[in-house]
Amino acid sequence: MRGKVIKGSLSGGFEVKLNDGEYIEDVNVGNFVIAEGQKHKFFSLVVDAKIDSADSQALLDTDKENDSLIRDIINGSAVFEILSIAPMLMIAKEEEAKPGEKRIKQVKTIAPHCSEVRFAEEGDIFDVFGMPSDINFEIGTPIDMDIPICLNLNKFVERSNGIFGKSGTGKSFSTRVILAGIIKSRLATNLIFDMHNEYGWEGTDEGQDRSCKGLKQLFNADVEIFTLDGASARERKVARFTEVEIPYSQIAASDILMLGKELNLTPTAEEVMIALEKKYKERWLHEILNMDPLEMEDIAQEIGVNSKSLNALYSRLQKIERLPFVKEDGRVDRDAVDEIMKHLQESKNVVVEFGTNQNLLSYILVANILTRRIHARYTKLTEKALAQKNFKVKPLIITVEEAHRFLDPSIARNTIFGTIAREMRKNKVTLLVVDQRPSKIDDEIISQLGTRLTLKLNDDADISSVLTGVSKAKTLRNILDNLEEKQQALCLGYAAPMPFVFTPRLYNEAFYRDIGYQDFTVAPDHAGFAALISDLMPEDDE
């Protein structure tokens, strides 16, 4: 594609008229293009395309539409196609670069009239996004290009991030790719709440209905699996796992409050639980679940609540009692948080699988309880690190699906997830929020997300929500509107030098190999075997 800048402004971007012989259909919204100024290359994104004319009447004169000669003459001269491009960065040309000054800068000026515009090439992409490495992780390819495009994981792990997309767009695959990148880079440890058993041991490819490797299979010793359902893990032949059991004493009233919808709690439930917690401390759940119905009125009177409210709460909490992994304190062998913390401090990554407990009640309860306690431990660790200069805490990323259930505006301020999202990286704990309804997440929290990776969204409110607090939101909205149903995403934010549309990297055998997975169940060929032996037993140099 070749064209020329014919109009433009710093705030509104450039308008580009395609050169004769160029076809508008060769250009897609989201393509990278370069406007060649005199001193800078303006690295830009195609954000819109339209038909324009030198004479507005020409647009209406369609009588000659069947005469190919007249049509070919008119097209590109009297009537022509215009691309709207948004300059995102400006790169000083080598001969113009001043020593000691950054070559890549935010756009502070515009390209002159008639500047040549062309598709970005490999060198341009690498200039901006860098060459692939462990830190500069290849997350896919720019649309219509076959070269890697990278995300800076160093920056990615510094803040909370989000992966959004409606169901079936490849959200889980993209999440898996990024998690694998972070594990390989060792820049942070991960705690993944895996509601649908997709990340830990083995996942399924929705489109092709076949299994794919989970993080444990890829990284083996670097990943530990915890499960709420040992029977399911055994059935799925998970190599090694630890069962999670939650004692009553670890469930706080605030944990139950998050389950308002799932338990159908009455408005007075909060008041009753606070009163119970005040009286019985951490044994409050044990007490209410073991309460004699005949004594209920007396207890209600004693703690100063309505007996009907207490009775209603008692009925609602029966659902908690029936959860197989929630147990009386004396029946729990080990503290899951201690075990998880031990692994995290050894720089291992932890996946909490839910087995057959794939309901929101279990998910929200467990994710909240574990996160609250682990966050408290990290807060202590970071305080220790502040006091001792030589003690460092590796960042922890907590991946949470169905995030809107934890970050709903009505509860986000009171939950541990809201706290983590708002405090950014203060206590070395950040979130990786995975969700299909970002509009249901508190705006304040969305605006705190450092990097947002968005696959196809249909709902207007969801699209607006993803663009909360983003500059050039209006132009990016057009790109989001036009993403493919599958395998296309917009990445924007802190870890990306500029917003970009890309085809996410495939999570397949090639990917497994690239991140260092070796399949020892397959016998190596002779050459491979010889190389392996040679590596293990090098010959003496003589």
């Binding site: 007249i70 001269s77 009297a78």
Partner: protein, 197 residues
Amino acid sequence: MSDTTYIGEIIENTDSDFIAMAKDYHQLPSVGSFLKITLGLTNIYAVTTSLAAGGDDNRMMMAMGMPLDELVTKQPQIADVLTFQFTGVLIGFSETGVYKGYLTNQPILHSFVKRCNEAEILLIAQDMNFLNTLVHAKDINNIEILAAVLRTLYCLKGEGPVGYDYLVCAGKKILSLSGYDRGLINSVFAKVDSQRR
């Protein structure tokens, strides 16, 4: 020894055009045909813009009831009375085979006018600036002349994709030169088109 291949002789000229008297009415150039006037090493090029014929100014012409050739055979003195003229608009020049789409000097009176050969027409056609003159020249039938020139060039370029692409380029140039006058384009190419099909 005088050159006998000329078809006319300039009898009146200005900075941009000329009137030539035809040597022989059988060799009158058609409107839109390419002409040249040679001055030393320089060829000045022009395009025929009109044709005219006249007789004795003191006597009114009258119908004779027979074709011109037969009339001249039967009454040879008629040929001396009849005059045939053509006009041309100057479009550029060449020196040592290099064409320039502007003028540095004009033909002089009594210069001989010749037809351009195919190579010379193709040389002129490389540079579309001659279209500027034809679009903007006053007091000529721009539509007919442009159409005739484009028909000639289309034939010479080859009536396939090469000729077609040339027509498209020429059309875009005319459109731009005429301030995007789609009426002009439609009229010119309606006449080129009929020939093309």
